[in-house]
């Protein structure tokens, strides 16, 4: 049985692309906490993340996110207001300043100007808020991306390869920030060992390998409710 409190609940959900199953029809639930999604390159992690973000529709099955059925138009609009999603490449606005970028996001999240200042301060971007994104170092640009993603304080944050290309020091600085973004954070990463749970996507199946489960970077954890990332029951 899948817990009703799960952030993401899939029932017989399958995702196809170019004639092959990226995710074979399966039922699973993902609760809160920081969940890492690992797997070989090109296996479909980004597509799965975009599906959880409601930007793609599953090929088969049903998907509930934050208790809403994304197949229902009213529910879809409601749940989208509570999701933050940052794709791998988001630097589409190199000529905007960090503040303008976040303010632009705030318009679409229907948030007041005060929330822009608040999230900039939370992401420690106040001093660089007037600098264009293209001039910022990668880690600071990522902070700006996270600020735009979380300006509306979402309940679920989905991040696609957020730490790729950053050195260990920058990664270590950002991990606590990522952990604090929302009650549920699901991210793809090459080495997601610091996450509370790690799921792997391989050959169309989502699994929770026991070997990765005991994360070596556990000290980065912040107090969270007990997570229930369930081993999928494939249909």
């Amino acid at each position: 049985m899948i817990a009703d409190v799960s952030t993401i609940v899939a029932r017989g959900m399958g995702i196809r692309r170019s004639g092959r199953w990226l995710l074979r029809p399966a039922a699973f639930g993902i609760a809160g906490g920081v969940i890492g999604l690992a797997g070989p390159s090109g296996v479909g992690k980004s597509t799965l993340l975009a599906t959880f973000a409601t930007l793609r529709r599953p090929h088969v099955g049903a998907l509930d996110v934050l208790g809403y059925d994304i197949g229902n138009a009213t529910d879809l609009r409601s749940v989208r207001a509570r999701i933050g999603y940052l794709p791998a490449r988001f630097s589409w606005a190199a000529n905007l300043t960090a503040r303008e970028f976040v303010a632009y996001a705030a318009y679409y999240k229907r948030m007041p100007a005060a929330s822009v200042d608040a999230v900039l301060e939370r992401m420690e971007l106040t001093e660089v808020a007037s600098i264009e994104l293209g001039l910022l170092p990668a880690d600071v640009r990522l902070r700006a991306g996270l600020a735009a993603t979380c300006v509306h304080e979402p309940d679920l944050v989905l991040l696609d390869e957020p730490l790729t290309g950053l050195d260990d020091q920058r990664t270590a600085e950002l991990v606590p920030l990522i952990r604090s973004l929302a009650p549920a954070v699901l991210l793809t990463a090459t080495d997601p060992g610091w996450c509370d749970r790690v799921l792997t996507l391989s050959r169309g199946r989502l699994a929770e390998p026991e070997t990765v489960f005991a994360a070596a970077l556990r000290p980065y954890s912040i107090p969270m409710p007990c997570q229930q990332a369930r081993v999928p029951a494939h249909a």
């Binding site: 409601s78 989208r80 490449r89 589409w92 303008e100 632009y104 735009a148």
Partner: protein, 414 residues
């Protein structure tokens, strides 16, 4: 509105879309300029020229819109995850693209209108014509953007450009009622012609209705708001009604228009359409020698009138007619040659007779052109040696032979 304005400004900066304005404007001015009648300031044709600029501007604007739509798909992660309508992002894009295209169109219109005002010195602009062009341009923007939105592939940009260009160029002037669908293939509207009343209004309704239907249909699909079905049905009905009305024109965009003449009375009376008033002095100067040489013959004339329509010109009862379709450099010589051509008997002179060459010799003299070669070179040399007075006297005696292309070497005595 304040927030929307801020987002539009950010989008304009982010996409640097404003650089397209001067490019579009230059293209539009070039396209409109081709439709102007050289040297003639005629408001009906001015507004047709501005409207016709959309036939080039439209496909470019559509391709630009498709490109923006394809590119802006990467923003879905930010703009689709919103408590606002899911159509907000695309509608903001359309607002920006429409603004850019219409700004360029405004510059085109301003340029052409200023040119006409400076030349005509009057203001008789039919605003519906400008609005019809603007609506057709907006329709191109909507079509291009929605195509790029629905099929986010770079090839869509090429396909949109090709399809809209084909639509705009394959419909020929006056061939069918399809040519009146925006952007219409009307062609130049010359003096003594006028656009059919209501044509631009119907085109405006057609473009606005179709654009509205497309946008409403898109918003209805992405937002699933059933209440939009009513305005959508209204937009479709409006488009259908405008289509029927345009169909009823039968492909004819212009009708003959009565107009008074402006004249110059000395030494000849020369009368033209008011839009060509500036041509009177040169036309007078070019026609006077011809009239002097023809004086005393059946082709003599003391009045020159501009002939409406495409009827063949002729010289009758002392009146010479000329079409004078434009005032491009050399128009006065062309008018004189046209009057001269009207002297000849068309039935007799179309046959390949030897006399045609001798009539051509006289033609060249009448309009001060180099003499052509004639079969009997001696006759040609004799004619060349004659004084002006002798030639005029000779023509009075041999005019019937000249008119019938029946001259022979014997008609050029020593």
């Amino acid at each position: 509105m304040h927030e929307l304005g801020r987002v539009l400004r950010l989008d304009a900066r982010r996409t640097t879309i404003l650089v397209a304005v001067p490019v579009l404007a230059l293209l539009g001015v070039a396209a409109a300029w081709r439709e102007l009648i050289p040297g003639v300031a005629y408001w009906d044709n001015t507004v047709v020229a501005v409207s016709a600029s959309v036939r080039l501007l439209g496909p470019v604007a559509a391709a630009l819109s498709a490109w923006v739509a394809v590119r802006e798909h990467r923003l879905d992660y930010l703009r689709s995850l919103t408590p606002r309508s899911p159509a907000t992002g695309p509608l903001v894009d359309l607002l920006l693209l429409g603004g850019v295209a219409l700004l360029a169109y405004g510059l085109v219109a301003l340029t052409i209108i200023i040119q006409t005002v400076l030349r005509a010195g009057t203001w008789e602009l039919p605003p519906a014509g400008l609005l019809a062009g603007a609506a057709a341009l907006a329709l191109h923007v909507v079509l291009g953007y929605l195509a790029g939105r629905l099929i986010p592939n770079p090839l869509t940009v090429v396909a949109v450009a090709a399809a809209t260009r084909l639509w705009d160029t394959l419909r020929c002037t006056g061939s069918s009622w399809l040519g009146l669908l925006p952007p219409a293939a009307i062609g130049q509207v010359g003096p003594f012609a006028a656009l059919r009343p209501g044509l631009f209004a119907d085109q405006l309704l057609w473009s606005a209705g179709l654009s509205s239907a497309l946008v409403l249909g898109y918003v209805l699909v992405v937002s699933r708001q059933g209440r939009l079905a009513v305005p959508l049905a209204a937009a479709v009905a409006l488009t259908a009604a405008a289509t029927v009305r345009l169909h009823d024109y039968g492909g004819a965009a212009v009708v003959p228009a009565a107009a008074g003449y402006v004249c110059r009375d000395w030494p000849l009376t020369v009368c033209v359409h008011p839009a060509l008033q500036g041509a009177l002095p040169d036309l007078e100067a070019a026609a006077t020698p011809l009239a002097a040489r023809l004086a005393g013959t059946e082709g003599g004339f003391t009045r020159v009138f501009q002939l409406p329509g495409g009827d063949p010109v002729a010289v009758r009862a002392g009146v010479a007619w000329t079409h004078l379709r434009d005032l491009a450099p050399g128009y006065e010589q062309r008018a004189a040659r046209e009057i001269r051509a009207g002297l000849a008997d068309p039935d007799a002179c179309t046959r390949p007779t030897p006399g045609r060459a001798y009539s051509a010799l006289v033609d060249a003299w009448l309009t001060d052109e180099p003499s052509p070669a004639v079969p009997d070179a001696a006759a040609g040399r004799r004619f060349a040696r004659w004084s002006e007075q002798r030639r005029r006297g000779w023509l009075r005696a041999h005019y019937p032979g000249y008119r019938q292309c029946a001259l022979t070497p014997a008609d050029f005595p020593r």
